[in-house]
């Protein structure tokens, strides 16, 4: 699975995710990615793209849950993303997210997640584990 989230200089957020699914999945199985709110979500507060085991991500409505925790619990992006991933079954989920304020979160409960981020301040990060 691959994904990207961005907030532009006008504070507008967007999210995109694309995948081939899981190896040896049943033909016809629809994963998390095309389900808006589970694999991909964006609103005026943040944008989120997820990766991992789609069934877990759909049960948790992961991407929308991050946005909801920011909107209704007034959590920072890092707090919302971290708490959502932490509550899911270990080894199932990773996500990248940005907020309309320009914050970045990249959380996962797997061994690793191929990820990269940058922002207007000069921050640049590429990581795996």
């Amino acid at each position: 699975t691959v994904g990207c989230v961005a907030v532009d200089c006008h504070g507008k957020c967007a999210a995109a995710t694309s995948t081939g699914g899981m190896v040896n999945k049943m033909a016809g199985r629809i994963g998390d990615t095309p389900v808006i709110g589970a694999g991909t979500y964006a609103n005026g507060v943040c944008a989120v793209s997820t990766t991992g085991k789609g069934e877990s991500i759909m049960r948790g409505m992961v991407a929308a849950d991050v946005a909801a925790r920011m909107k209704y619990k007034a959590l920072k992006l890092s707090e919302a993303a971290g708490s959502v991933v932490k509550e899911l079954e270990a080894g199932t989920t990773g996500l990248v997210a940005v907020s309309a304020k320009g914050e970045i979160a990249m959380d996962f409960n797997t061994t690793g997640m191929f990820r990269a981020s940058a922002d207007h301040t000069g921050h640049l990060e590429v990581g795996v584990w």
């Binding site: 990207c4 694309s18 040896n24 990615t33 061994t111 990269a116």
Partner: protein
């Protein structure tokens, strides 16, 4: 307001290897692509589509070219996109020939009254819109053929990066 960008290339049980470094290098290229577009003032929606297209076109990742195989040895690709400013969104599932599923998802968002098109209907929409397509063989890599064989032997289903069960422990 300041811009920000983050991307991923999948999660799982990732082991250190030459491949890992190659993937990191591609991620940095894709990141640089997105950064340049944001710095030039392009909107977030355009940038996320552009970056995901670049990732789909690289066979190192499980999306587009390089998608993993179903139990029947076929590819079934999925993608979705959402504009936070408007709440508009689009998605596709069960694609077998579309080179860049993320762009078809955006067309669903912008050209139809719907959110999700799947399988034959999504393929027909792709033809109608004239998006780039390829024979199913374009998407299949030797590595993914081997992964399917290993996974069938162990009767498992794997996410992007899984430890082969035939390790011999």
């Amino acid at each position: 307001m300041g811009w920000a960008l983050a991307l991923h290339g999948g999660a799982g049980d990732i082991k250190r290897s030459e491949r890992t470094e190659a993937v990191e290098s591609v991620l940095l290229e894709c990141l640089s692509l997105g950064v340049a577009e944001l710095e030039s003032g392009r909107c977030a929606l355009d940038v996320v589509e552009l970056v995901v297209r670049a990732l789909e076109n690289n066979e190192m990742f499980n999306a587009g070219k390089g998608s993993v195989l179903t139990a029947e040895g076929t590819v079934e690709m999925e993608a979705s996109i959402m504009d936070g400013a408007t709440g508009d969104c689009g998605a596709v599932s069960g694609l077998t020939t579309v080179v860049n599923p993320i762009s078809l998802a955006r067309l669903v968002m912008e050209k139809t009254p719907h959110i999700l098109l799947a399988f034959d209907g999504a393929e027909a929409f792709a033809r109608q819109q004239g998006v780039e397509t390829a024979d199913p063989g374009y998407f299949v890599t030797e590595r993914n053929i081997q992964r399917l064989r290993q996974t069938k032997e162990t009767q498992t289903v794997q996410i992007d990066y899984s430890v082969p069960s035939e390790a011999g422990e």
